[in-house]
Symmetry: C2
Subunit: 410 residues, 2 copies
Amino acid sequence: MFSLNSNYLKLKAGYLFPEIARRVQEFITTNPSQADHLIRCGIGDVTEPLPLAVREAMHVAVDEMGSRSTFRGYGPEQGYDFLRRAIQQSEYAARGIPIAEDEIFISDGSKCDGGNILDILGAHPSVALMDPVYPVYVDTNVMAGHTGNAREDGSYEGIVYLECTPENHFIPSLPQRRVDLIYLCYPNNPTGAVASHQALRAWVQYAREHQALLLFDAAYEAYIQDKTLPHSIYEIPGARQCAIEFRSFSKKAGFTGVRCAFTIIPKELLALSATGEKKPLHALWHRRFTTKFNGVSYITQRGAAAIYTPEGAAQVQALLDHYIGNAAILREAVIAAGLTVYGGVHAPYLWVKSPQGETSWQTFDRFLHDYRIVITPGSGFGRAGEGYFRISAFNSRENILEVVKRLSSC
Amino acid sequence: MFSLNSNYLKLKAGYLFPEIARRVQEFITTNPSQADHLIRCGIGDVTEPLPLAVREAMHVAVDEMGSRSTFRGYGPEQGYDFLRRAIQQSEYAARGIPIAEDEIFISDGSKCDGGNILDILGAHPSVALMDPVYPVYVDTNVMAGHTGNAREDGSYEGIVYLECTPENHFIPSLPQRRVDLIYLCYPNNPTGAVASHQALRAWVQYAREHQALLLFDAAYEAYIQDKTLPHSIYEIPGARQCAIEFRSFSKKAGFTGVRCAFTIIPKELLALSATGEKKPLHALWHRRFTTKFNGVSYITQRGAAAIYTPEGAAQVQALLDHYIGNAAILREAVIAAGLTVYGGVHAPYLWVKSPQGETSWQTFDRFLHDYRIVITPGSGFGRAGEGYFRISAFNSRENILEVVKRLSSC
């Protein structure tokens, strides 16, 4: 009989967000009158309108599809030149980072890219992940057969977990044993930590010395406030030889429901073939795109390109200011409530210590029942997240002020 | 050092359509005055405007993104209920086919689904493909390590090729040896052949007897003219236990640049785990969607749902009538030119025999130079395609009439 990919059966059933949804639903069923009073600071989804420039560009693109002469069918799988060029100029050239247009691959999401990237890599790599971590990085490696079985605490055999704690400012130590793949995410989800040039230099140096690959998730780079901090791994000399970078419009410009992201694969980035030759990954990713993908909607790409116009950029900045403003308000309130908080300065997430003796899920339940606020339990992001919770700043100002009010009433 | 997926290195460099593009470019460079006179009947891309109902629905959806109260962020990864329901009712229930809404997974393309489906299947399956075949099915199996090396003629060791010829009406014989996966495509790309209930019944019976999986590509089902022919593999009793179906809005409603498709995984479809248990593939595909995908753009899904409104359906039918009308005109012209033609009745493709003694690429070059018409050489679809070429009916009526004129002048 034909078989299934049994690696999937190793996955723990309870992905974090479905479990949150289940508990919230249970609460609403028991307390129907409270349903309208719930404030969701759990899942990191944007809430504010899509920038006007983006909507206008999409309207124009929809109309273009209505006329034979401007209709667009299949586009280039890797993305239209107009968008790749805008990204190259605004995100890289403007910061003095040498990335070529054809090293930018436009996709429908960083989640997709982060999973699909394993397609072009060899079987059975050793993998290091930050702990706590965005669960998708763990799960896609489980599905690809890169791990052993799940342990009781939700971690997987075979993965090297790099603990991120207040003591190391959520920048993990270098791995004790050599690994092939290292996932880094800065500004970090869930801890809200940000990495300095110096911190990233250490990782680039490690990767080059140990011939490892850095998978650098910069989905939240737009939230960096300090102009001296790096937005891209390629601001670090040598990174072009050892790093892939993931970027997304989801959190930068409110695209979670619109779907557009991009991944950078520098042409100097080489990996070992089965016959021992070093070959560029760029050609493989290009081949994957042309064979297993058909490009992002033309209409979506026109919308994404609009954020690089002067009007679009101003509207995006206003959106970012709104969310980072929320984060600042939340920080003060959480501190005033006597809790210890990290992040929320260069990231839309606050990482908060649960009160002494309380587990993450206990805090979750207490916040749900006492404050009618949905948070994300830190343990859902890994073992090292136990005893913490994440508050998302993605919300209306009104809701954030209401959260402040409820927290101050405790 | 970290390694790459060396299976990619087995792929033949020249994917069909880039090679066509190269020869066309060379022709234009040599004959710049002819550039404007070229008629492209090569790549199967739609040319006519997106239906008005689709555009109107997308405009509304774009505007919804502009208001906090109607803004949509992350949607359900498997697709919005409004679209799954519309598909369930119009494509399946209306034809008496028992498919549940949650067996329908909305994606950004059949090309993506056709490649990604291998993710949830076991390693090293034996694979049977029709020959000629849509190249993506071959290449994704090469990339997944399901084949040996490429042979001189472009075929791969380890794949079972099922020859489709005029003698068998382009419905291949059952495989001589047992296989795990069988790719079928009806109406067929590239031959334009269509399968009867009887033909599909034989395949379903084979798959059930041999515990094989049918991967049924029905991207062109909307072109079927004869009301007695099956549109879905699930019109065949027993198919729910042995088949996955791929559908697309690309050719049905002009969505090649908009990107929306869907895949059906019935809940009764079981596959063998490493420990010898039979488990449903539905749960694995669901897990893949939630972990490696974030859903199709809300705006796109609203556009897709509009084709199931009365106005949308009428506009889609007009589009289909236009293309199938083109195919009928082309058929007559090709026959009048003394060539033998197949397909073009229930499919937007004509499969034409090259004149005696001419290879597919020789015909391609002759059509390019003598008629300034771009066709697709049949050998690009596999060994059994040698000596044939494909003409696509995706064009304006004006261009099709010009093709007729040029062919009649020979």
